[in-house]
Amino acid sequence: MTELTEASVRAEVRAWLAANWNPDLGLVEWRNKLIDSGWGVPGWPRQWYGRDLSPGLVPAVEEEIQKSGAIGVAKAGIRTLAAATILAHGTDLHKQKFLRRILTGEDTWCQLFSEPGSGSDVAGAVTRAELRGNKWVVNGQKVWTTSAHHADYGLLLARTDWDKPKHKGLSYFIIDMHQPGVKVQPLKQMNGHASFNQVFMTDAEVMPEFLVANVGDGWQVTTTTLMHERRGADALRSWAVGSTREGRAYDEERAEIATVMEPYKWYPQRAGRVDLILTRARETGRIDDPVLRQEIARVLIMSKSAEWLARRARTAQELGRPQGPEGSLGKLIASNVARAAARVHTQISGADALLSGDDGPMKGVIAEILVSVPATSIAGGTDEIQRNIIAERVLKMPREPSIDTDKPFRDVPRNTVS
């Protein structure tokens, strides 16, 4: 086998795209072709649609696909988490049934972890799943569930044993969202969007083969999903908003964005749109204000350094080195950057920061930044929880004395009202 280099990989992808990409194919038809070639998810194992490509070479493939104007595999938010979790813990049946349709975009997913009583303390879930006959029957309520309103499947964390300590009595399921026992109710967010929902499950059913890992091992699977979610926080920034190009595949992609991607429309604001700071400052003439220049520079420095920190972590990973502290810091830093950027955007806009929608600066984009930023430090685990994780896992500082880990969950004090 010849040694793969970045150049050889790029050349191979380019050649394949030149021979195969055609904007007049149907979106799913095209993505199936891409998946069959292994270039859709080149970092995945060969057995499951990939090419076992080393992580360092994957961005080059993505870049080539983007440069050629071709559409990649579907990869919005929760879908990547579902795919990563199934790849790591799923059975062959799960992989056969779900992975390809996640990649083509035919199925969409949601993450049913948070509950009214357990957000940060995900392991405190009280939604119950009981084996009745040959089916699992689920009862309980989830909340803040992004995309539940259009999801086909959910990643469900539920309690299967109340006599075991809290982390040991949980199981992880794949639940069909299109069934009578699942009711989804949109929640309006402070930014006016409704990307998340309440989900009520009343005698909802799960086939036994849709249990992921073993009964009682739900927590380990959950941590895999959460780890990918934290890592992915950065990627949200670069999501494409769809092209204006012509062709059936593009039309269908635009339709996909209008429905499936809609809940994430405002997510790019999460990073505080550092990329717009200089444009805005020039536009308003405030770039010449010496005080503001200091504030702008601070944000640019923080965000550049964060970018280089992520690059260090990636390089280390490519070289097969153990994960350093830089790997765990991304989510916390991203919310620091977002908050600082929002502050600067407010200063740059001055009185115009009072306005939103079409009256607002940049046709409302700035207002959207200002009212969306708080999500960054809550979604996917709050800043406080990230700090706990960094302190305890990376710095190995003593864990919080816990009052609930060894007791049967039945006896643990918890929120009584939702």
Binding site: A297, T315, A316, E318, R321, I390, A391, P401
Partner: protein
Amino acid sequence: MKFSFSPEQEEFRSNLRRFLADRSSTKEVRRLMETEAGYERAAWQKMNVDLGLTAVRIPEAYGGQGFGFGEQAIVLEEMGRALACAPYFSTAVLAAGAILNAGSEADKRALLPGIASGETVATLAWVEDNGRWDAEGTTLKAASSGGGWTLDGHKSFVLDGHTADLIVVLARAPQGPTLFTVAGDARGLARRAVEAMDPTRKMARLEFNGVSARLLGEAGQAAAAFARTMDEAAILLANEMAGGAERLREDALAYARMRMQFGRPIASFQSMKHKQADMLVDVELAKSAAYYAAAALDEGDSDIPAIACLAKAQASEAYLQTAIHAIQIHGGIGFTWDNDTHLWFKRAKASEVFLGDATHHRELMMQRWAA
């Protein structure tokens, strides 16, 4: 750009760290900082014989080892960690940098081998009492007379200026900004060690009264070479600061693990843990900027002037913030002379100011990057 340290660089780092742990304990730092020179020549020369530190980035043609900025950044990070008392920054960063950037082939052949071998302690004198870190602040005058040059004026904040054998001087010549070299014992040169806030890094004020000097490079042509030297120095200082900050963070963590209050180690209190997490964020951001900037120097990145400002500003704030947290975590003992934390605190403060503070560098970055 990808950046990471190679296995060879990692090995170089661990050897150096071991060497410095051995030779530059805080006991030794405390002993040397009480001396007027701030270092011992014999120890300094041994360091160069054993490890070739000043030779690292000097090309082989001039007696050096010919490595890049990446390797020199490692030296600085480790010296910053250990707070090593040595005329390294003055000699190997400032003076050698100025000579490499401004000197003619003949200048380099004449001046660099002594620096590479560790025989010559050298420095760069450019700031004056006005405290301006750029070339525009220079008032020291150079005049040519009978084929030679003489210097009149003063220089301040000159690192190791009172002990250096060789002083590179920025002066105003009729042709424009020009660099010269002057012997430490030149006639007409008065040197006085000033009392520095950071006792581990000594500074001097120099008076030039008709001191005869040798031209470095071409008369009136020093501006670009000098600016480049400042960018390199800012980046290397950022790496030194990152090393110091990391050491403080680690020491504070070790103390917090061991110190018991209320029946448990203070490291188990959440406010201590969150502080440590925030310190890690600060230090890792500073390291990333400093490493990236050093790698960018080796790659000849055209954005160096802006990246240098970025790295210096980031490291200045991170180092000082880390020092403040570290003292706080130590409680009352952190405010004592016997506790070592203040040694790094003072270095953090001094490094924040030296070469221009964070405010200065943020503004410069805006001018260079964002217009």
